[in-house]
Every structure is written in structure tokens, then in C-alpha cells.
């Protein structure tokens, strides 16, 4: 089962900016994940700041571990968004694994 979140609704112009914007989206994603769904994060037509992506994806990794990435699909990402996602995911996964390695 898949649920989808269209991020364009949260943009000002073409950019989803503040970290704070991620909080309610993350809550929505957590609920969907808890119900066993995959979640599609649809970046059609938008760019995003590193802070927003960290507030959304980075926080999910710190909460649930890198395995959560297997249940997230990133749709229609620009090259910039892909690069930021890869940066955030790698950094926060590394941080999680180091914290939980004892």
C-alpha cells in the first residue's frame, strides 16, 4: 500500500524552505508508516532547502534508523533535491549507526 505526499502544497514559489514546515509532513508520514504503507514524497515542481529535507527525512532516520529509507520513495526530484537528499540521508544514517553501535 502506498500513500503520497505532494510537497508543492507547502512551497512558497517553487521552494519548500523552513525546517518547521517539515514537522506536520513528518507526522503524516509516521502515521502512514505505522499502518504499513510505503510513502511517496512527491517533489514535482519544487526545490527544497537542506533544512527542510533534514527536518523531514533526516529526522525520520534519526528516529527509526536508515531502514526507514526502504519504505520511502522520492518522486520527481530535481538534481538539486536529489543531491540534498543523498547528503542528508548519508549524514544522518552515519550519525544513527554511530549512536546505536554499542
Amino acid at each position: 500500500m502506498r500513500s503520497s505526499v505532494l510537497l508543492q502544497a507547502y512551497a512558497h514559489g517553487r521552494l519548500v524552505g523552513p525546517r518547521l514546515t517539515a514537522a506536520p509532513i513528518r507526522d503524516e508520514v509516521e502515521i502512514a508508516l505505522a499502518h504499513g504503507s510505503e510513502v511517496v514524497l512527491d517533489f514535482s515542481g519544487v526545490e527544497a532547502t537542506q533544512s527542510f529535507i533534514d527536518g523531514l527525512v533526516g529526522a525520520l532516520i534519526l528516529q527509526h534508523g536508515p531502514d526507514v529509507l526502504g519504505r520511502l520513495v522520492f518522486k520527481s526530484c530535481s538534481d538539486d533535491v536529489k543531491a540534498i537528499l543523498q547528503f542528508v540521508a548519508a549524514d544522518r544514517s552515519d550519525q544513527y549507526l554511530k549512536t546505536h553501535s554499542h
Binding site: H12, G13, G17, P18, K75, S76, I84, Q86, F87
Partner: protein, 320 residues
């Protein structure tokens, strides 16, 4: 009588902070002689805004005398003197022309929820007349407007949100003041973001990389990638930062032919290469000035500006 210098600006950040400190230490009344004032940049306006707000909060009456006519109308237009008495100063004639394509008046920001909208409004204003209805490029899907506005909007989001988040570590009701202007003849955009919070040193004082408790050292540490006071705190009660926002914003400025100047405590640093510490100077919060060449914003690609992750392995992500 406090004397305004000729310039209240980012390159003279320590002088600007020093004047603000005098105002805050004035007690019941701050009498200011502005006869020598020639130029105030957005950084100077934002710092004056924060300073006047705090002084008024303490019950101080602020009087500015003899503003030169060449600058009086402009500063009043920029809403710098809200709540301030102007004595022997030319006053504006009450007609406010729409200059929203080149300047944004001094704006106070107190809520995180306002950051996205304010950042977009400022960025659009600074692009100075690009056509938001332009047909997108067939290959990239972007318009000239997108290419120009997004790096600036990105930087403003990071600066404003950082300012509110970190300022409030030490002061619950800290706010942020922002002003910006586009100078068409020089193709230059200048903006100033100043908060009245706790400053870099208070934010980073327990960071293991801070060797000496000096404001300049804290500023330089804050500019290093992946340095943050709260990278590792809990999720629900605190915002978790990667420590990358300020670094990326500096790189946006540099790649757009510009620079950033940061001031906090008794110190300042410019990314163009100079730093300074002032004896007896103190600004409690953080002041940041950003300067970029408008036409070079279109060449900025954020993906090229992210810090290196050194030995951290990449992870697999599912893209569609």
C-alpha cells in the same frame, strides 16, 4: 549626546554595534546626533531596528537630531525610526511610492511560521523586476525568475530560521530584523539579518571544537560545516540541525560574486578575508550581512555547494 558616524553598515559592523551599545546603555533617554550620517545599509538598518526595539522595551525614549535631508526620507521610508522621535529632521511627505521591486522595509520577524513567506517576499523584491510569468526553458523547466530568486530565497530561509532558532536558546522572546535592497547601477543585492538573541558564543560554548571562549572563535566555528550546537538533541522538544545551513548560505554568496559579514559579541568576520575584535564593543545577538551580484545568482547550483561528507558512505535511495 551619542554621535552617529558617517556609515552604519556591515563593513563597519563593530562601529555600528558600538553605537547601538551606547544607545542601550543610555538609561531613560538616548539623544542621538545624526548630522554626520551619510549611508546606512540593510545590515545597519536591521541592527538599528533591533537596538531601538530593545531600548524602547527598557523604557528608553530615543531622540534622533539633525538627520541630513539626503538620508532622512530614505530611512523613514525604510521604517527604521518606528517609535523614535525625530528632532530637527526633514520628515517624509506622507506619500509612499511602491518600491517593492528594489527594496523591502525593515521587517521584524518573531514567529517561525512567518519564515517561508517573508523569505519569498524578500527574494522576489530583490530580483528587481524579473517576470514571474515568463515561459519556462524547455530543457530545464526553469525561468530566469526561478534561477534568480531561488538561491536568494534559499539563503533567506536558512538565515531567518537559524536566527530565530538559535537566538531563542538564550532569550525566549528573541526576534529577528531583516532589511534588503537591490542597487541596480551596481547590480548588487544587500540584505541584513540581525537578531537580539544570545549570540554565537553562547550557542556554541559547550561545543568540543571551541578551544577558547572568544566571540571571534565562535563565529569562525559556526562557519565550519556540520558544526551546530544541537546536532544531537532529541527530536520532539528541540529542532535538530545538521550544521550546514550557514555554510551553504556563505557558499551561495561567494558563488554569486559576493560575501557575508557576521558580527556577534565583540567580533566580526567577513568571508572576503578580514576579521576584527573591538574593545568595549558588544552586540548580544548575531548580525549577518549578505551581498551578492544579482546576475550571478542564476549560476548558483545548490547541489555543488553542499559540504563534502568525507568518509561517510552513500546510502541507497528510491527515486522515481
Amino acid at each position: 549626546m551619542i554621535i552617529f558616524p558617517s556609515y552604519l553598515s556591515a563593513p563597519s559592523a563593530l562601529t555600528t554595534a558600538s553605537v547601538c551599545q551606547e544607545i542601550l546603555e543610555s538609561g531613560d533617554v538616548a539623544e542621538i546626533n545624526a548630522a554626520h550620517l551619510r549611508y546606512v545599509d540593510p545590515f545597519g538598518m536591521a541592527m538599528l531596528g533591533a537596538c531601538f526595539h530593545e531600548a524602547r522595551r527598557r523604557g528608553c525614549i530615543i531622540r534622533v537630531h539633525q538627520l541630513p535631508s539626503g538620508i532622512s526620507g530614505y530611512l523613514q521610508r525604510m521604517d527604521v525610526f518606528t517609535g523614535v522621535e525625530l528632532v530637527e529632521c526633514p520628515t517624509s511627505n506622507g506619500t509612499r511610492h511602491d518600491r517593492s521591486d528594489v527594496l523591502v522595509e525593515l521587517t521584524q520577524l518573531c514567529n517561525h511560521s512567518e519564515v517561508g513567506a517573508v523569505a519569498y517576499r524578500l527574494a522576489k523584491a530583490m530580483i528587481g523586476g524579473a517576470n514571474p510569468d515568463e515561459v519556462p526553458d524547455e530543457m530545464t523547466g526553469y525561468t530566469t525568475f526561478d534561477r534568480l530568486v531561488e538561491p536568494l530565497q534559499y539563503a533567506l530561509n536558512e538565515l531567518l530560521e537559524n536566527a530565530l532558532t538559535h537566538a531563542r536558546r538564550g532569550k525566549k522572546d528573541a526576534c529577528v530584523w531583516v532589511a534588503s535592497q537591490y542597487y541596480p547601477k551596481k547590480d548588487l543585492i544587500r540584505l541584513g539579518v540581525v537578531d537580539d538573541g544570545c549570540g554565537f558564543l553562547a550557542s556554541l560554548q559547550t561545543h568540543p571544537k571551541l578551544q577558547h571562549k572568544r566571540h571571534l572563535e565562535a563565529i569562525l566555528l559556526a562557519l565550519q560545516p556540520r558544526v551546530s550546537c544541537n546536532r544531537d538533541l532529541g527530536l520532539r522538544n528541540d529542532s535538530v540541525n545538521q550544521g550546514v545551513g550557514l555554510t551553504t548560505t556563505c557558499r551561495i554568496a561567494e558563488h554569486a560574486g559576493g560575501r557575508m559579514i557576521l558580527a556577534s559579541g565583540n567580533a566580526m568576520h567577513s568571508t572576503s578575508g578580514y576579521s576584527g575584535e573591538g574593545m568595549g564593543v558588544y552586540w548580544q545577538g548575531v548580525g549577518i550581512a549578505m551581498e551578492v551580484t544579482r546576475s550571478k545568482l542564476a549560476d548558483v547550483r545548490v547541489r555543488e555547494l553542499l559540504p563534502s561528507l568525507d568518509d561517510i558512505p552513500p546510502v541507497n535511495l528510491r527515486f522515481e
